[in-house]
């Protein structure tokens, strides 16, 4: 053994010694640096999970509000806002649940909060109730007419533009500006209160447009008329002409 050690060249011996020292340092230092629970559940510190789930909850959830505010909850539950959680408007309530006397929640009363959802934006889905706040009773607060817990409008929308503002704007600059919506869309009364349950009709036939635009029709002068038999006979009219802006 000793003779074997003597046969090894000096420079290789030094390297072996160095390697052994490095290995020893690694073995001593590594347990100090790597947390003891690292790798228990995967390539991470297992106790990190406990740290993360220890984070306090701020939003208490809509169920807990009904335990005290059952009257408001019932009213809201039958209104258009039934799916809007209380904390959307009143803010995080976890502290309020614990200390209901001292930690009062916010009550937004101004116009600037309601329009967060209800200002007219062209990107918002059609049928979602929207207003143009500049012209919609600009000096009044929303809550003078609408109870946020039951926001049914005091009167049903006077015209379709209340919800279909983008279509109304197109129609405003089109030659169809004087054609009322109901001339083409048979609108059931239920549509004003349950818009997604009761749908208005849409014209299905070329002859419907032909009612005004067919050349054999003795209508008012100025309406463009075509021979409905030969004019684009393979297509229905609205494949080429957008009826709200023809």
């Amino acid at each position: 053994m000793i003779s074997f050690w003597k046969k090894i060249p000096e420079q290789a011996k030094r390297l072996v010694v160095l390697a052994i020292i490095l290995l020893a340092v690694f073995l001593v230092v590594r347990p100090q640096l790597v947390p003891s629970d690292f790798g228990e559940l995967g390539h991470f510190r297992a106790s990190a999970l406990q740290d993360i789930i220890a984070q306090p909850v701020q939003y208490a959830g809509h169920e807990i509000c009904t335990e005290c505010h059952d009257e408001v909850a019932e009213k809201k539950g039958n209104s258009y806002h039934r799916n809007v959680a209380c904390e959307v408007c009143h803010g995080p309530a976890a502290v309020h649940v614990e200390e209901e006397e001292t930690d009062m929640l916010r009550i937004p009363r101004g116009r600037d909060f309601c329009i967060v959802c209800h200002e007219y934006l062209s990107s918002r889905p059609t049928g979602f109730p929207q207003i143009v706040s500049e012209s919609h009773n600009p000096m009044k607060s929303c809550i003078t007419c609408h109870n946020p817990h039951d926001p049914t409008p005091p009167e049903k929308p006077k015209d379709c533009a209340g919800c279909h503002a983008s279509i109304a704007r197109s129609k405003m600059v089109s030659h169809h500006v004087y054609v009322p919506c109901v001339r083409c869309h048979d609108t059931p009364e239920g549509h004003f209160t349950n818009p997604r349950v009761y749908h208005p009709t849409k014209p299905t036939k070329r002859e419907f447009c032909g009612g005004c635009h067919a050349s054999d029709d003795p209508s008012v002068a100025g309406i463009p008329q075509v021979d409905i038999e030969s004019h684009g006979e393979r297509y229905v009219c609205w494949q080429c002409h957008y009826p709200h802006l023809p």
Binding site: G42, I52, Y59, N83, I115, E119, S122, P125, F128
Partner: protein, 266 residues
């Protein structure tokens, strides 16, 4: 006979004692099935029981987002910041809302003023917009997460229920994961100088609550649920809609599922 053979190395009284013991245990096992120790199933993966019997191995979380329901009110952004103490500055978001406007000439413009925190303002422009919609975004909790792959210290990881988390005490703030995330869902917290991201509100989920953004969405554009339960709202959502995910070509296998997603969204 084989039972008796196994006693052959014992002397007579020991043999008798062992035989009686085996006999009585056999009778007991027949009379009270399921009570004897050997039949008890071992508790599976007990290490993953995190909070009040929440067993992470029984779940697999995901989110559904219906573009047609999003009104861009930004309540999810506000709720997320309140719930998770995200800095209120306009550059730090765990979730944010983008507004897409597609013009007649095919030009796509995306805007997200303050991440949608203050909702969006009506604007007057001469753009000829033919389509416009809102897209809420957040960490996609990829099943094959590039951010976890690149973390040099093991500070970010995927839990067994499919949530990607960051261990902020172990993160060294090298920003490698922020670069790796193809969805821009991560940021460096300005005070702790560690990586931060959406956790699906893991602290709420283990208590049986839904994430703050889902809880506060007024139009139910966001659906949260368990992909392992066929009765979960998310599974119903994926069944009822045509589903798309962001940047499918990257094979990150996101678990945020979009319904009615436009082709322009990336």
């Amino acid at each position: 006979m084989s039972i008796l053979k196994s006693y052959q190395h014992l002397n007579q009284p020991q043999k008798r004692r062992a035989f009686v013991k085996t006999f009585l245990l056999s009778v007991a096992a027949i009379v009270f099935p399921g009570r004897s120790g050997s039949q008890e199933k071992p508790k599976k993966n007990s290490k993953w029981i995190l909070d009040d019997d929440y067993d992470a191995t029984e779940h697999r979380w995901g989110m559904g987002i219906d573009i047609n329901n999003c009104i861009g009110c930004g309540r999810c952004v506000a709720a997320c910041k309140d719930e998770n103490n995200v800095p209120k500055l306009p550059f730090f978001f765990r979730t944010w809302v983008e507004r897409y406007e597609i013009e007649a000439n095919g030009q796509v413009s995306v805007s997200s003023p303050n991440g949608g925190y203050d909702s969006f303002k009506p604007e007057i422009s001469d753009k000829q917009t033919i389509r416009s919609f809102f897209v809420p975004k957040l960490c996609n909790h990829c099943d094959n997460p590039p951010c976890v792959q690149v973390c040099p210290v093991g500070a970010t990881f995927k839990t067994v229920d499919g949530v990607i988390l960051v261990d902020k005490d172990y993160c060294i703030g090298c920003r490698y994961c922020i670069q790796a995330c193809p969805y821009g869902a991560r940021f460096l917290h300005p005070e702790t100088r560690t990586a931060e991201k959406c956790t699906f509100c893991y602290h709420r989920v283990v208590k049986g609550m839904s994430p703050a953004c889902v809880e506060n969405c007024p139009t139910q554009a966001r659906i949260f649920g368990d992909l392992k339960k066929t009765a979960s709202p998310l599974v119903r959502f994926t069944r009822m809609h045509n589903i798309n995910v962001l940047k499918q070509n990257l094979n990150t296998e996101p678990k945020v599922y979009y319904a009615n997603l436009d082709m322009e969204v990336s």
